[in-house]
């Protein structure tokens, strides 16, 4: 977890540390260009919510940040690392190895729309797996850490439960704990509540809100406008593979300058 004082220093003006710096990211699937040069900077402790119609490129952009998708061009830096690449002896950018990419990803938490918990492992084992296999932590230490993380998301009573016996909201909270156990510098959320029943959305949003208050740097793809208004420091409006508008929730939601933002908001609000 990042230090709790970071939230106070994250706004513009000197000292804020850049956690994410994405520059002119382009991505095509076949002949279809899904990202048409997206740039975004996120400072430590900042929460950025990505909104926009489906197919606008939000999720693809999020997946470029931890290299689930390899951009066709552009640069993504997270916590000072060039994601998916490294510099060779002559200072040229070359592809990083699978091992190096894995190391970069270990610093970036990713929460999926469909949770993707390991069904053959209990909640505790789901959370312990990363620390034990990736960080080579001792099982005892990892167990203590995992119990801490599960307690933090309110699931200390579900430690030995298998995913099949958890509700959607509980699964998503285990998934968040699994990411947090790796002490990430950045958390990415891909529509974390879209697959949930309405009555359990709140419990997941509460966990994400608590994380924001603890100073975690986050990028969240979400359709929850109320949540974005409350938690986001900035909101980025995606349309047709580009960020068409970015600003504080008040600017974007209350005084949108772009016609496409207005049209989108009129549909979801």
């Amino acid at each position: 977890m990042t230090s709790s004082d970071s939230r106070g220093t994250r706004m513009e003006g000197g000292g804020a540390t850049l956690i994410v710096q994405a520059t002119e990211v382009r991505k095509s699937f076949g002949t279809q260009e899904v990202l048409k040069g997206v740039s975004l900077e996120v400072t430590r402790g900042e929460v950025v919510v990505l909104i926009g119609p489906s197919g606008s490129g939000k999720t693809t952009f999020l997946r470029c940040i931890n290299h689930f998708e390899k951009p066709n061009s552009g640069v993504v830096q997270v916590n000072g690392h060039l994601i998916g690449s490294k510099l060779d002896r002559n200072g040229r950018r070359v592809d990083a190895s699978a091992r190096e990419i894995a190391k970069q990803r270990a610093e970036i938490g990713f929460v999926f729309q469909h949770f993707n918990l390991f069904p053959n492992r209990t909640a505790l084992e789901n959370v312990m797996l990363g620390p034990v296999k990736v960080q080579k932590m001792s099982k005892d230490k990892a167990r203590t850490l995992a119990i801490d993380q599960l307690t933090k998301v309110g699931l200390s009573n579900k430690i030995d439960t298998y995913p099949a016996q958890l509700s959607g909201g509980q699964k998503q909270r285990v998934a968040i704990a699994r990411s947090l156990a790796m002490s990430p510098a950045l958390m990415l959320f891909d529509e974390p509540t879209s697959a949930l029943d309405p009555e359990v959305i709140g419990e997941v949003l509460t966990v994400i809100r608590d994380l924001a208050n603890d100073g975690m740097t986050m990028i969240v793809v979400s359709h929850e406008i109320g949540f974005a208004r409350e938690v986001a420091d900035r909101v980025a409006m995606f349309d047709d593979g580009q960020i068409v508008e970015i600003g504080t929730p008040r600017q974007v939601f209350d005084n949108p300058t772009q016609a496409r933002t207005k049209a989108f908001l009129s549909k979801v609000l």
Partner: protein
């Protein structure tokens, strides 16, 4: 002999069934251990071939594809004769009787295990490939997201989950494997079928002794059915899915009545 009366020798049938000769038991034993060893080797080679077929290296994919194509595309019987007689006739390789850990293994048995394992590995690789493909892609992404390399993800996340999809078709294949050991008689492996044939030609009680052999094959595949059910239940338990406890008889009845559910139920 053609008197029209039933020539079934009941006492011979029961004697050979209940107190089989040591020769027959030796054949039964060979049938079992050849099948088990060949199947174990086949699973290991099959996993390697299945992983090769998913490799990012084109050459590895091609070689694995070729391997499966050839071994699945030719009859086991032909493969057996090529491996045992063909290789020896051309002086490429000659299997010889050998002693391993104090157990003597006939040349023909070695050839049989090698051929059955290779043949079955092609089928196993397809079964394992399907099992790996059945694991949701999100599982691999989740493993990568916590910093695993693709190899770690395969080992700790994808393969363990594929096992659940692999066991039922593997059981099917092993059932077939135990029965196809009967073709090993053509290269002179003294397994159950060959011994039965020998008893038949020396006693002329063909119907009786082959009926006995059929019952022994049936017993083997039946025992395997139970072992497979136990394996499936064990894997399900490791996923937090438990079967309700029931008597052996009712679980057998259920298994034969509705093989789809296998008495599965999720813990509430």
């Amino acid at each position: 002999m053609l008197t029209g009366a039933l020539q079934f020798n009941t006492s011979f049938f029961w004697h050979e069934l209940l107190r089989p000769s040591s020769g027959f038991l030796g054949g039964l034993g060979r049938t079992v251990y050849i099948s088990v060893i060949a199947q174990v080797i086949a699973v290991i080679i099959g996993l390697a071939v299945a992983l090769a077929r998913r490799s990012t290296l084109r050459i590895l994919r091609s070689v694995a594809g070729l391997y499966v194509w050839v071994l699945r595309g030719t009859p086991l019987l032909v493969q057996l004769v090529i491996v045992y007689d063909g290789l020896a006739a051309t002086d490429i390789y000659r299997f010889r009787d050998m002693t391993l850990l104090g157990i003597s293994i006939l040349a023909s048995v070695q050839a049989a295990i090698v051929t059955l394992a290779l043949n079955e590995s092609a089928y196993m690789s397809e079964i394992i490939r399907a099992g790996l493909a059945a694991v949701d892609v999100g599982q691999n992404e989740a493993a990568l997201s916590i910093g695993m390399t693709p190899a770690q993800s395969m080992r700790h996340v994808v393969v363990p989950q594929a096992i659940r999809f692999v066991i039922p078709p593997l059981g099917n294949d092993f059932n077939a494997m135990m029965k196809s050991t009967s073709v090993l008689s053509v290269i002179g492996v003294p397994e159950m079928f060959l011994i039965t044939q020998e008893i038949s030609s020396s006693t002329f009680h063909t119907f009786e002794i082959f009926l006995d052999a059929a019952l022994y094959y049936l017993a083997l595949t039946t025992i395997w059915t139970f072992i497979q059910a136990w394996l499936e239940a064990k894997v399900d338990r490791s996923w937090g899915i438990v079967r309700t406890k029931r008597s052996l008889l009712s679980s057998v009845r259920e298994r034969f009545q509705d093989p789809r559910t296998l008495g599965l139920s999720r813990r509430a």
